[in-house]
Chain length 382, copies 2
Amino acid sequence: MTDKEFDVTPWDVEGNVDYKKLIEKFGTERLTEDLKKRIYRNADERNLYIDRDFVFSHRDMDKILEDYEDGDDFFLYTGVGPSGPMHIGHIISFKMTKWFQENFDVNVYIQFPDDEKFWTRDRSYDEVEKYAKDNLKDVAAVGFDPDKTFVFKNTEYIGNMYKAATKLAKKVNNSVVSAVFGFDSSTNIGLNFYPALQMLPTFFEDKRCLIPAGIDQDPYWRIQRDIAPKLNRKKAAQIHNKLVPALTGPEGKMSSSKPKDAIMLSDSPDEVREKVMQRAYSGGQVTKEEHREKGADLSVDVAYQWLKNLFLEDKSRVEKIAKEYSSGEMLTGEVKQILVDELNRFLKEHQKRKEERGGELVEQMMYEGSLAQEMWNNKVEL
Amino acid sequence: MTDKEFDVTPWDVEGNVDYKKLIEKFGTERLTEDLKKRIYRNADERNLYIDRDFVFSHRDMDKILEDYEDGDDFFLYTGVGPSGPMHIGHIISFKMTKWFQENFDVNVYIQFPDDEKFWTRDRSYDEVEKYAKDNLKDVAAVGFDPDKTFVFKNTEYIGNMYKAATKLAKKVNNSVVSAVFGFDSSTNIGLNFYPALQMLPTFFEDKRCLIPAGIDQDPYWRIQRDIAPKLNRKKAAQIHNKLVPALTGPEGKMSSSKPKDAIMLSDSPDEVREKVMQRAYSGGQVTKEEHREKGADLSVDVAYQWLKNLFLEDKSRVEKIAKEYSSGEMLTGEVKQILVDELNRFLKEHQKRKEERGGELVEQMMYEGSLAQEMWNNKVEL
């Protein structure tokens, strides 16, 4: 990590992000070893992202555990804007969310803000629908409990949400959304209203809500945390992951708008191999000789970082790679090959689940599962 | 009418309104004698408000008639914000709307913006609901065709409207609603979004929409008329009435927030008598002697203006009162007594219809009538 300037907002992530500074800047809490242990005391299994400090920051995670240890439930909330095909970076929060659901047996709400994606660009609903259809199956393939997970598109579920959302909207004025989201006079009145709908699912149950998300999403929830007490409701807790860097290096995060620099969830084994081998930013040296002598800079090596943070459960294997790669014993091509194998193994399983069960699971999570039916049969109360 | 300054905005009407100047200021068209004749050629009966130039201005009324004469239908749209009990002034646009429905056999859409009324003040939904319940019965008592009229509360019908409204919202930015509605940084993000929902019913059918309303409502529809062509839809036509003055005189319009200066639709005969006799602004002279000598100033006399514009169908009777009252032959008390009788006759009938059939008609217009069922079974397309 360098001291280079960085800027993380909900809309953009640029530069070489210093996560320690980010915690200070945003005013979040570090996920301490004590808190990790406390999570694990309540969970049935360990979690790779937490183990590797890829999930590293939080707000009120201690309160979530306090509630839970007192026998009180909590619930999870996440979402994805259907504006393109999904990539590896998108799946992290979903996998983290699934881990919490599995280990704490709680409900999950997943918002598809099709309205917001229609509003933000010159994009038609046909386009948004197309991506939503595909993204929904990707989410389904993550393996949420279909009876404890409710997935909804805003334009479809609005009839059950609107009145409650109007109560949130009344507590938020134009200057607040301008300060938090950067909206201005040229922003359309739909997007300007959207924060009310984004916030609403944090109140779907009268329990504490936990949002697993990238640290860049933190500012989104400031308004929620300001107004929740005014409504006699709980502030949304969050647990933050670091940003998944693009293949091309740690400058900024992966984006669907640059598919060549991302691993898409639909990539074939050959595409994965080609992308990783040709485009993944290497911390190794240019010539083999130089590499053997100086070794690799692990902190900027995308293949190593991905393996360590996202894929290799076996810690000793990571340590071995770290040692051999940084000393120059291991070559970039070898590390990349391990990543290609891990990615392709993950994607093969993901694509199989998406293909075989995606459609059916989407139906359950959106309409037919127990939680979905309960949500459709009741209006959100606030 | 004086040259005193006047200001008419959707939120406020103050001063001694000069309607001729208002037509120029707003850029609407005068309802000419030719246009009146053309309306009557197509209608089955005359209309008091049009006859007396109480309905005096329009936008595209000629196009409405052109469509109609070509065998093309149009439809009507009006509404009322449930923020208090309704008064005589509220009923004018509804009666005008009903007249068009009866004479042109067209559909009517009536919006109850409960969301907007919740957003504009420190007002709970309980309060809004209470007024809505009562206002709905008042509207029902006007006598719309229950199979050709759809009445809806925004928070209830939103599921069928929202997606179409998002398409309007995308075409309207914060600076536009700031200019037209005076919204600013302290406006909540709900009210800021509301113009999209207010506009949407003008697109409920792919025909021209006619809005009968007070001239002060004209600015509301400027945005609709700007964006309709961009959506390949028709600009909303309007036909404007003058504002019903408060009892206390032609300075400003009647308001539910000053019930003593208004005739409420629920007033008893005694209340009406007391209000008119004690509070109606008189154009007559202070002493009987002076009055006999100088006569009354009809232009500011509320009882005379109300009788002429809103109640007395018999033109010769109006002319007789005008002559005798302005000459001093007739006294203020006599003119007021005629108004009391007319008001009480109207209110007795209204209250009887409201009491006897209000509940049932509301059910039909909101849910069970032919048009209501069609509207509930289909989402609004845009």
